[in-house]
């Protein structure tokens, strides 16, 4: 178990404030947040690189202050993999074995398991690492980190330089590594979807403060405050006023502009006339095809498409919603956008599921 107690780090203008959390053994813990929020500082403090911190870092109850990097049993894979260019693939994989005073026979079984888990058999005999693809390098780096059986695997943006199929493959492999090998994983990423897909618990770090540690449900996270909401939803956070609230069900009706919207909340108590915010992720909203009746449990509003950007497999649609007196962003599958013949200037209807519209206290 890793415990961070009032962990503060100061580097020039950067300040990691009083981080307080604990990570269970065998847990998949993801730290997410925008670039520069302190994720890397947190990871580096954990592995022992950064010794100038206040507060306590405990590993299985033992303080890590003064414990050198090599004595921590925390393996580390940085964003750029850090493959040793002068060693073969095998040499890279086995690097830690000798350093930890193990013999090759000791790790033979685990090596076998890792070669299968990471699908490394095809490249394990390569004498040079120069020809490896980014995905292969990342797998070698992860295999190398895991071979000497560390208590914790710390990953800093492990998927950032990978794309498409390789990224999805590695995500599944990381999940299997966590469950099948039982290794605790601490994974830092600025990609919220990656965090929600992998983390048993997700910590949101913004500007050096840990705003929230939560268990995502079905790949979703209800933001704890406006800061987290703004990071998750971009511009889709709007001021609103509570009309009435059902504190038991965690549902509230709010007025946003002239629109009446129903959203969900948790961890707070709301009452009428309270000034709040309502927000949602662009990918959680959708467009209702003309003439169709809105689904039950959905807020529906008339809207006009003001801009349309095709980005990979999604279409980012910017909508003018007169009733909300707001500009709203919706991300829908590109194919759906084509199917309904979406174009700039077209009239449409915005659909916003009640459970995915967050009602939050104002900051």
């Amino acid at each position: 178990m890793i415990e961070l107690q009032n962990l503060s780090v100061r580097f020039g203008l950067f300040h990691l404030h009083e981080v307080m959390t604990s990570i269970e053994s065998g847990e998949y813990f993801v730290v997410t947040g925008p670039s520069g929020s302190g994720k890397t500082v947190l990871i580096e403090t954990l592995i022992g690189l950064n010794t100038h911190y206040r507060g306590r870092v405990l590993l299985d109850g033992v303080t890590m202050r003064g414990v050198p990097v090599e004595a921590r049993s925390i393996a580390y894979v940085p964003q750029d993999y850090g493959i040793f260019p002068h060693l073969s693939v095998g040499g890279n994989l086995l690097y830690g074995v000798r350093e930890r005073g193990l013999r090759r026979e000791d790790v033979a079984e685990r090596l076998d398991e890792l070669l299968d888990l990471l699908d490394l058999r095809a490249i394990v005999t390569r004498t040079k690492v120069t020809g490896l693809s980014a995905g292969e390098q990342q797998k070698v780096a992860i295999g190398r980190a895991l071979l000497s059986n560390p208590a914790v695997l710390a990953l800093d943006e492990p998927l950032a330089f990978l794309d498409g199929a390789v990224r999805r493959e590695l995500m599944l492999q990381l999940k299997r590594i966590n469950t099948e090998l039982g290794v605790t994983i601490v994974h830092a990423t600025r990609d919220l979807d990656e965090a929600l897909a992998l983390g048993k618990r997700v910590a949101v770090l913004v500007a050096g403060r840990m705003h929230q540690v939560a268990r995502p449900e079905a790949g979703r996270l209800h933001p704890a405050d406006a800061t987290v909401a703004r990071w998750m939803a971009g511009r889709n956070v709007f001021p609103a006023v509570v009309q009435n609230a059902d504190n038991d069900a965690g549902m509230a009706t709010v007025t946003c502009g002239e629109a009446e919207l129903v959203g969900s909340f948790s961890g707070i108590r709301l009452s009428s006339e309270m000034a709040v915010l309502i927000g949602f992720r662009p990918q959680d909203a959708f467009l209702v095809a003309g003439g169709t009746a809105p689904t039950k449990g959905t807020n529906t509003l008339d809207a006009t498409v003001t801009a349309l950007v095709h980005h990979g497999s999604t279409a980012l649609v910017v909508l003018d919603v007169p009733k909300m007196q707001a500009t709203v962003e919706v991300a829908i599958p590109r194919a759906s956008a084509r199917e309904v013949g979406l174009a700039e200037g077209a009239a449409t209807r915005l659909g916003l599921p009640r459970d995915l519209a967050w009602v939050l206290p104002r900051d």
């Binding site: 580390y76 940085p78 005073g101």
Partner: protein
């Protein structure tokens, strides 16, 4: 339709022009060195080469020069590797001042360095060493020290550049895999800087082999047991024995070429592979 800014063929010829310029530059350097070597054979005169150099005095100078240069370059590497690593990795205040201080001997003339060495051994702790441990001034250890002083800064500079090029992150990863700082250096940083270490060794050897100013200031210029090849050349030249000086120059060229080539091949696995 707008015309392309430059015709593709014109662009290609510009690229070729650069290749031509590069080739011309190296050709000029090689021709110049060849010209210097060739001129030297004119100075040799009518006496046979063997007559000029095959003497006990010359043999002594050759052995002394090789031994001193080898000694100085080996010590320079032994000191230079850890020193350059420290300069590259340690984060201390005013690091740039220390870094620059290390470069000062490169800018100082070898004679000036020699004078400072003599002065050091005539006062304080230097004098104590001179009188009770080993004599340096006008003695063979002085030659070694003079050459080492001239060469060491150069070695450290070359090595520091090499260590700077090894990402510290790789050492961090080695440490998370169980290496101590020393093991991370030994198994990651040093192998990655290997080529530069070998180059620094060869360059240090070459520089020490040709060292004259500091050597002559510390050990004096006299025929005999403290006479290196450069000193020998100077003595012959200053006593107007030009053809003998030319003979020793020819010998130096030959030895330098063979030794540097051998060192380069021996210390560079890549070059060995290329040859075989």
């Amino acid at each position: 339709m707008s015309e392309p800014f430059r015709h593709p063929l014109a662009r290609r010829s510009r690229k070729d022009l650069f290749r031509v310029m590069a080739t011309v530059a190296i050709a000029i350097v090689i021709v110049y060195i060849a010209l210097l070597v060739a001129t030297n054979t004119l100075l040799l005169g009518t006496e046979s080469f063997s007559e000029l150099v095959a003497t006990e005095r010359t043999l002594g100078a050759i052995l002394l020069s090789l031994a001193m240069a080898l000694g100085a370059s080996v010590i320079a590497i032994l000191i230079g590797v850890p020193a350059a690593y420290a300069l590259s990795r340690l984060r201390v205040p005013a690091r740039v001042v220390f870094d620059t201080l290390v470069d000062v001997p490169i800018a100082l003339s070898p004679i000036a360095l020699g004078i400072l060495i003599i002065a050091m051994f005539s006062t304080g702790p230097g004098r104590f060493i001179e009188e009770n441990v080993a004599a340096f001034t006008y003695a063979v250890p002085g030659i070694l020290l003079a050459q080492l002083t001239v060469v060491c800064a150069l070695t450290i500079r070359l090595l520091k550049t090499a260590f700077d090029d090894v990402p510290p992150r790789l050492e961090v990863i080695a440490r998370t895999l169980g290496s101590t700082r020393w093991r991370a250096f030994r198994r990651v940083t040093l192998p990655l800087a290997r080529r530069a270490v070998f180059t620094a060794f060869v360059i240090s050897f070459a520089r020490a082999f040709g060292e004259f100013g500091a050597t002559v200031t510390v050990a004096g210029a006299a025929p005999g047991p403290r006479e290196t090849l450069p000193v020998g050349i100077f003595l012959r030249f200053s006593s107007l024995e030009v053809s003998k000086a030319a003979g020793l120059i020819a010998l130096t060229i030959l030895l330098a070429f063979v030794f540097i080539l051998v060192l380069r091949v021996v210390t560079s696995p890549d070059l060995r592979r290329e040859i075989s």
